[in-house]
Amino acid sequence: MKLGRLFVKRPINIIITVNLLLFSLLYLFHGVADYSVPLAGGLLTLIMVICYYIILKLSMGDQYIFLIISLLSSIGIAMLYRLNPEYGFRQITWYGLGMVFYFLSYGIFLWIKGWDRYLYLYIIAGIGLFLFTFFFGTTIKGATNWIRIGQSTLQPAEAIKILYIFFIAAYFKYPEKLKKPYVFLGIIYIHILFLVLQRDMGMAMLFFGVFISIFYAYNTEVRLFLINILASIMIGFLSYFAMGHIQVRIETWLNPWRDIAGKGYQITQSLFAIASGGFFGTGLGLGRPDYIPEVHTDFIFSAICEEFGIFGGIAVILLYFILVYRCFKITLNIKETFKKIVALGITLTYAYQTFIIIGGVIKLIPLTGITLPFISYGGSSLVSAFIAFGIMQALSRISIDGEGLDVIE
């Protein structure tokens, strides 16, 4: 009973236990001679505990955000270690770097005042990065959205995501800066157009979704909103007929079984994997998620469903739910327009991103390649997610301060 009470009091203990279980299992899975797995697991747990206590001791606002993203990252890293220890190791490195950026973005966001004044900077930086990718980008897996620096590649769209939120927020704080709303809409559609040209449909959908939701909340003209909805439907239809790869995506969504060995291979393998998991899954290391192409990035959710069953999958979705709930609650407490929209933008970005990719792999909506936040393999997406939630952490502190609660330690 005492132990149980301690557990309820400190969710961090549950994370430690989960890490302990998963990594000792992985240690057995990869052979007893290899000590790198338990070491990596220990290191990961240590980083989490230290960061958690830093957040508590410095009373950096909301503590649940960090707990939830820690558990999500733990599941992700354990799953990557199971798929390929090399990916897992690199992901831990990215995780460590991400944590540094988490605290940095927290500090910088609070330190610099007047983020709402740099509207033009956000536009120029965003579009500049797009142009840079357009001219110097490398094509990986059909999308020209990567920049190669030495050995590693990174995705500028992940950085643009944050600049884009700041741009929208800065615009709605001082709409008169851009004279007419059409100028604002033009810049938004330039962002989306670049993503379409890069053939990054998931990101294009995400950018549009975030824009239209914030526009719905803050725009006063109903007519302009309806025009946007109509325009997006038109663009959707046009691009369906104009671009071959979108047609393929829709076809494999409607009937992947027709071309099961070719175009529909990925999605059908994903469905087989989820189905073979059943309620409780096959157990870690006992399924065959390696049949699915790209299982470590876009399709990691199917691998989780296969090895931990549908209950494990639902648990992951629930974790995202409570994360988004916390973020919405922080958003509602903020009074100032700019900060409120930044908080809303970050919340919506990660909520939609999760929906787009989980919906894609379970064949609820057409599949578009995008990473599952905090779980998928990928340095850029993990680090940018940590930067975004570092800002969220700063905003949560502002929202608590705004309520005038004086906290005694």
């Binding site: 309820v8 503590q63 209950f311």
Partner: protein
């Protein structure tokens, strides 16, 4: 051997992860309750918790309204019941008399503190006074217009 271990651990893992979700949702639920109480509050003076609620292992609200006579303790008969083991079953009483609020200790074991000093007798409460008892501390708020 590995199979059996993996099968067992998947159940433990799933149970733990739902337990984690439960514990977070429980804390969120306490949060929502605090918001509701905040919304309902009228002009009456009230007690406001200054501790971090999530550090405490018993249920306590963020705000408590004060009536003409309010008793606080661990026992069931009190107006405000707090299940802290360092709080006596009848711990203290706050009474209204001619527009002023008075704090009185009802012979508690661990005592009642007003602004960090133990109270001996009935004392008058002013806006912003801190009332400490057991593991918790309240702020007495009386809005003056």
């Amino acid at each position: 051997m590995y199979q059996i271990l993996s099968w067992t651990i998947r159940y433990i893992f799933i149970v733990l992860i739902y337990y984690f979700i439960y514990s977070i949702i429980r804390l969120i639920y306490l949060d929502i309750q605090a918001i509701n109480n905040k919304g309902k509050r009228n002009d009456n003076p009230y007690l406001k918790l200054v501790n971090r609620k999530d550090r405490l292992d018993f249920h306590v609200q963020e705000f408590y309204d004060l009536n003409d006579s309010t008793t606080l303790g661990r026992g069931k008969g009190n107006d405000i019941q707090i299940d802290d083991k360092y709080i006596s079953s009848k711990h203290l009483k706050i009474t209204l008399d001619e527009g002023e609020y008075f704090l009185e200790d009802l012979g508690s074991v661990n005592g009642t503190y007003l602004n960090s000093t133990v109270i001996e007798d009935v004392v008058k409460l002013r806006n912003g006074d801190r009332i400490g008892l057991g593991q918790i501390e309240f702020l007495f708020v009386k809005e003056v217009d």
